[in-house]
């Protein structure tokens, strides 16, 4: 017994000594040490050859050039394309994180058909053949009775894909194609009304020396954000000045050389007040105004009526005192603004609020544009230019069979293009109301848009979409509209497809960008162009005949013709030497003049011309005014923030799932609201629970809420966080354009 124990001990000691003389303990220690440094569950990205693909970003209408870095066939990073005429190497926060859309969990991975209740999230995967057959059959059925009850909402105006939709709808026989309007539409109408031009605006901001911005989100994403940032940086280098007129200290206001806070909604009044000073002091560009303008002085119309010209109208009605009272901007300040604006070399006045998603008030655009005319900065260096619409799509009208003719002859459900809104192409803002009022929409096609999120009106929008029996989404992402659709035919993302991207907003030079497949499709998706062509072919008849192309790529190549080569090799095609037409050639109509006023819109004809903008809500019940707070860090369009971008949202904008509203401490004190505490925000359109962010950078009496949050779909990184601003506001039609001009809504904020 005793020996046994001792022997065992001895054995152990021998074993320990022996082990110490082997590499075992040391090697094991080393290996375990390595094991603890490279846990097997941590991904190791495979290495490979670095290669780059040039393409064009399609996440907004900015048209920025991108260079995608790939490792073998994996895309690992998106960067701005160097020397690209739009963004010159820079890229915005969303563009930089586009790969999270490509590879992210919000993708719709294959065609899907709803099986559960709408929005329940139960889907049946179906094949492309079956999906297209189903859509074709559905469309053919509806076509038999009322083709005009098929509506389509899409996002862009130019380029082959929107033209395919236009063609499809025309051949099918429905006038109800709605292209989501933006400030571009308001600018186009301004150019039409004041310059008689059917064109698109360009702003030569890089060369401007004094920018008077009426609430434009120049640094919040206005057109191509990168381009605007670079222009701003150039101003700081070359002594260019930026004046921001806005009731809230937005980023643009903060970076501006001067922030002019005013009573919300009085931007047009201020613009005319400035015009008044300019005219009164005789500071305007007499050469331009006298030779190339009409409607400045009083005139007698062909109908024999006396019309008051812009000059006297402004001189009488917009004296500094009046304007100061209405806007809350001091008369001295108005005087200064006018003097500085006129005194500056190459001044420019800009309208189009925030990111430009809301078309805005046409009066405001015109009042602001009148300032440009007063200094003669039309089609001049550093001024507002006009460009032709892109014209490379020469397909001709599709043949229409009688059904199509009949359908196309019916009036649009949104009221666009009627006598009242003759210059307006489409008014998505009235869509929900129209449907709720009984307009028949049997099928709704949605491409590139996300109306269930972006349309304003809250409950009304929800109700309208519930009424539509059949919704088809072409979205590559499970966005709010796709989530509530009956059929999803997922498009490729912009990193997997070819598409032409012409005419980015605001660029003063004509450019066509090319989006191309950077990687092969990651999901079982199909180019929306191909889906349309295949559906048309499946439908047969005249619809099929309108789509002779084999597929979208063939269509694109054929359409672009000679341009294809350059686009394929460079990624874009630009006319860098473009100069806009000189003054004597610049203006359309018979007069060939810039028209401050004309007979269709002059004081007397439009009673409320250039007055303070309307706002919805009763001031008694809703003492405050809610306005959007837009930010580069929250995408507020159809596509929601990526996970990376979500990381950049400050914690006094979004905390956990709660959204904050900016309130001036003085206002907060008056309503007993404290910093960080919960509050109930209500407007005539809806109500929401929010938290209070006391902020000195907002005018008392106002509430600002971030846009782009409150998404119900997409991925868990964004869904159900915050409140959708669009649910708290309702569209207010502009009296001239009919487009949404709601810049804010009356609101009430109570302690919760």
């Amino acid at each position: 017994m005793k020996i046994g124990r001792r022997c065992f001990l001895s054995f152990l000691i021998g074993g320990a000594a022996g082990t110490a003389l082997t590499p075992l303990p040391w090697k094991l220690t080393d290996d375990l040490s390595i094991w603890t440094q490279t846990w097997p569950w941590t991904p190791v990205p495979p290495d490979g050859e670095i290669n780059y693909v040039n393409s064009t970003c399609m996440l907004c209408s900015g048209g920025c050039g991108i260079t995608v870095r790939k490792i073998d066939d994996r895309a690992v990073k998106i960067e701005g394309m160097k020397d690209h005429p739009v963004n010159n190497g820079g890229l915005c926060i969303m563009g930089l994180s586009g790969l999270q859309l490509l590879y992210g969990p919000r993708r719709v991975k294959e065609p899907m058909k709803r099986v559960g209740e709408r929005g329940e999230g139960r889907w049946e995967k179906i094949s492309w053949d079956a999906a297209i057959a189903e859509l074709a059959q559905k469309l053919n059925t509806v076509r038999g009775s009322s083709p005009e009850s098929v509506a389509c909402i899409t996002d862009e105006s130019f380029g082959t894909v929107p033209h395919l939709f236009k063609r499809f709808m025309a051949a099918y026989g429905s006038p109800n194609l709605m292209i989501t309007p933006t400030i571009q539409d308001s600018y186009e109408q301004t150019l039409k009304l004041m310059q008689g031009v059917d064109g698109i605006p360009g702003f030569d901001l890089e060369n401007s020396k004094f920018v008077l911005s009426f609430g434009c989100g120049i640094l919040e994403g206005w057109g191509s954000s990168s381009r605007m940032f670079q222009a701003h940086s150039r101003w700081t280098e070359t002594g260019g000045k930026l004046v921001q007129v806005e009731p809230r200290l937005s980023v643009t206001a903060a970076k501006a050389d001067k922030w002019v806070s005013l009573n919300p909604g009085t931007e047009a009044v201020l613009a005319l007040g400035i015009a008044q000073v300019i005219i009164k002091d005789g500071l305007y560009n007499k050469d331009f105004v006298e030779k190339h303008c009409a409607g400045f002085e009083d005139w007698e119309g062909e109908d024999g009526k006396k019309y008051q010209g812009f000059k006297n109208f402004v001189l009488e009605a917009f004296t500094p005192d009046t304007v100061a009272r209405l806007t809350g901007v001091s008369a001295n300040m108005i005087q200064d603004l006018a003097t500085n604006f006129v005194g500056a070399e190459k001044p420019i006045a800009l309208a189009g609020r925030g990111k430009g998603y809301t078309p805005g008030s046409l009066h405001e655009f015109m009042a602001v544009h009148a300032l440009n005319a007063l200094v003669g900065n039309i089609n001049q260096e550093g001024g507002v230019w006009t460009l032709d619409r892109p014209d490379y799509i020469g397909w001709g009208e599709p043949a229409q069979d009688p059904v199509a003719q009949k359908g196309n002859g019916t009036p649009r459900i949104d009221g666009a293009g009627t006598e009242r809104y003759a210059n307006t192409r489409s008014m998505v803002n009235t869509f929900a109301e129209a449907v709720n009022n009984g307009a028949a929409v049997e099928v709704l096609l949605v491409s590139g848009e996300n109306p269930c999120y972006t349309l304003r009106g809250g409950e009304a929008v929800k109700k309208a979409f519930e009424k539509i029996p059949y919704i088809v989404s072409f979205s590559p992402y499970m966005d709010e509209t796709a989530a509530g659709a009956d059929l999803i035919l997922p498009n490729h993302t912009y990193l997997e497809r070819y598409q032409d991207v012409p005419a980015p907003f605001g660029l003063p030079i004509p450019i066509i960008g090319m989006t191309r497949p950077v990687v092969k499709p990651q999901c079982d998706s199909k180019h929306v162009g191909d889906t349309l062509i295949l559906t048309a072919k499946k439908m047969g008849g005249s619809v099929r005949d309108a789509f002779g192309w084999e597929n979208y790529e063939a269509c694109l190549k054929e359409t672009l013709g000679d341009l294809w080569g350059t686009l394929e090799s460079d990624g874009f095609l630009v006319n860098a030497d473009y100069t806009p037409p000189a003054w004597d050639m610049a203006f359309g109509d018979e007069s060939k003049k810039f028209q401050f006023f004309n007979e269709s819109y002059a004081h007397g004809n439009n009673k409320d011309i250039f007055s303070q903008l309307r706002i919805e809500g009763d001031p008694g019940a809703f003492p405050l005014i809610l306005v959007p707070a837009e930010s580069m860090r929250i995408a507020s369009g159809p596509v929601a923030d990526t996970p990376f971008v979500m990381k950049t949202i400050p914690d006094n904008v979004l905390k956990d799932k709660e959204i904050f509203v900016e309130v001036n401490p003085a206002t907060a004190a008056a309503y007993g609201l404290r910093d960080g505490k919960s509050a109930a925000l209500s407007t005539p359109a809806g109500r929401a629970r929010v938290r209070v962010n006391l902020c000195e950078g907002i005018r008392p009496g106002m509430v600002a809420m971030a846009t782009g949050l409150g998404r119900s779909a997409n991925s868990r990184y964004i869904a159900n966080k915050g409140v959708n601003f669009n649910d708290l506001i309702r569209p207010v039609p502009d009296p001239i354009s009919g487009l949404d001009s709601a810049w804010g809504i009356r609101a009430k904020l109570e302690r919760a």
């Binding site: 375990l32 040490s33 603890t36 440094q37």
Partner: protein, 414 residues
């Protein structure tokens, strides 16, 4: 039932009572162990620490228990080096308390690091310029010393002592204990100091940064000093609590008063040094980086300047005054009050030197950082307390911790 294990000549509570006591404390211990396992398996997201509070409750607990465990090294130093032989009557307990404190500190450190399995890198890949390296080395070495000091106590258990080898080992270890104690004192000086150095060297944190002597900031010396001062206080406090719980007098008053006196003078000198240091820091060091002293104590939503008053006056000056006066030491209530205040003072000091250092905004456009520990942090911080109580219970029951116990509590033979 376990009477064979209980030292001769002393009376112990019935086993059921003892088991119940251990059982109740054991539940708390298990709660702590559960939290600890959670932290190890799921990671430090179980805590409420964050990027602003990389150090929080745990590091405070570490610093505090090590300061409080300072009684072991300082009593050892006094007994073995200075030759205060009376202290042999309390040194065992001081060693036990020290052992508990240091083992707890090491355990908490093992939970507190993000990759516990790589923890040994601190030794292997040591960066000798880092105060934390110094802490790690000295702490683990001194823990080894404490273990060596604790082993002979265990060996004195009646049953273990029967084994000749263990008897001899205990005997021999007693013989060379002075060498170990000296080494322990040497190590303790450095690790107590380097714990002070941990924040003192942070020149990016003006609240904690102190200018230095040689390579060490003043906090280095203040920490050692304060640990030497308050460690014995804590030993006394725990002794008094043990006496209260067991209902027996365990250490003679002259021993207690001697230790209290030394402790008092240490505390008095420490607090003078601390006041001078604070004054110099407020007048010279902090203003050089653009801070006035009040910058560190205003805008704080909870305690403001009062924390400084609590630390220095209530937790320093007051107990020092009590302990250096004969009357104060003789008065039981005053003595206990003084030890409690001194313990609070040192804990507040360690709190301030960890958490306020991180809470104070350094970038002018930042504001105070707030933090409240998660239950997992609290549970793992209470875990050592439960563990300490259990170890004290077991040691007291089965080991002759208090040499004077038999004399002070003679059992009347029936």
């Amino acid at each position: 039932m376990d009477s064979a294990l209980i030292p001769k000549g002393v009376k112990r509570a019935p086993l059921w009572q003892f088991t119940l006591f251990i059982g109740i404390v054991g539940i708390v211990l298990l709660w702590g162990v559960y939290a600890m396992v959670l932290c190890w398996l799921k990671g430090l997201n179980q805590t409420n620490m964050n990027d602003a509070y990389g150090f929080a409750l745990w590091i405070w607990a570490d610093l505090a228990v090590i300061a409080l465990g300072g009684g072991a090294f300082f009593s050892g130093f006094l007994k073995y080096i200075i030759g205060k032989d009376e202290l042999k009557n309390i040194i065992n307990y001081a060693v036990l308390i020290g052992f508990i404190c240091y083992s707890s500190a090491l355990l908490i450190l093992a939970i507190d690091i993000g990759q516990p399995l790589r923890g040994w890198f601190i030794f292997w890949h040591a960066n000798v310029h880092s105060m934390l390296t110094e802490v790690a080395f000295c702490l683990s070495c001194y823990f080894a010393v404490l273990t060596i000091e604790y082993i002979p106590l265990i060996l004195e258990n009646r049953q273990i002592d029967k084994v000749p080898f263990f008897h001899n080992l205990g005997h021999n270890m007693h013989h060379v204990m002075a060498v170990f104690a000296a080494t322990g004192a040497f190590l303790s000086f450095f690790h107590q100091g380097s714990l002070g150095g941990v924040t003192g060297v942070l020149f990016g944190r003006p609240f904690g940064f102190r200018e230095g002597v040689l390579i060490w900031p003043t906090t280095f010396f203040l920490f050692t000093w304060s640990a030497a001062a308050v460690g014995p206080c804590f030993t006394l406090l725990v002794t008094k609590i043990t006496e209260k719980v067991t209902g027996k007098k365990l250490v003679k008053d002259n021993v207690v008063e001697l230790l209290a006196k030394i402790s008092g003078w240490m505390l008095a000198t420490y607090i003078i040094a601390k006041i001078i240091d604070t004054w110099y820091w407020a007048a010279v060091t902090a203003p050089e980086s653009g801070f006035s002293m009040m910058d560190f104590y205003t805008n704080n939503p909870v305690y403001g300047i009062w924390i400084l008053v609590l630390e220095i006056v209530i937790g320093g000056v007051v107990p020092a005054l009590i302990l250096i006066t004969d009357a104060g030491r003789k008065n039981k209530t005053a003595l206990i009050t003084a030890t409690v205040l001194a313990v609070i003072g040192i804990c507040v000091n360690r709190w301030v030197m960890v958490l306020q250092v991180l809470a104070v905004p350094v970038l002018p456009f930042e504001s105070w950082f707030m933090y409240f520990p998660s239950w997992q942090e609290i549970a793992t911080t209470i875990l050592p307390v439960a563990y300490g109580i259990i170890l004290i219970g077991l040691s007291h029951r089965y080991l002759p911790i208090f040499p004077q116990e038999r004399e002070l509590n003679p059992i009347e033979e029936s």
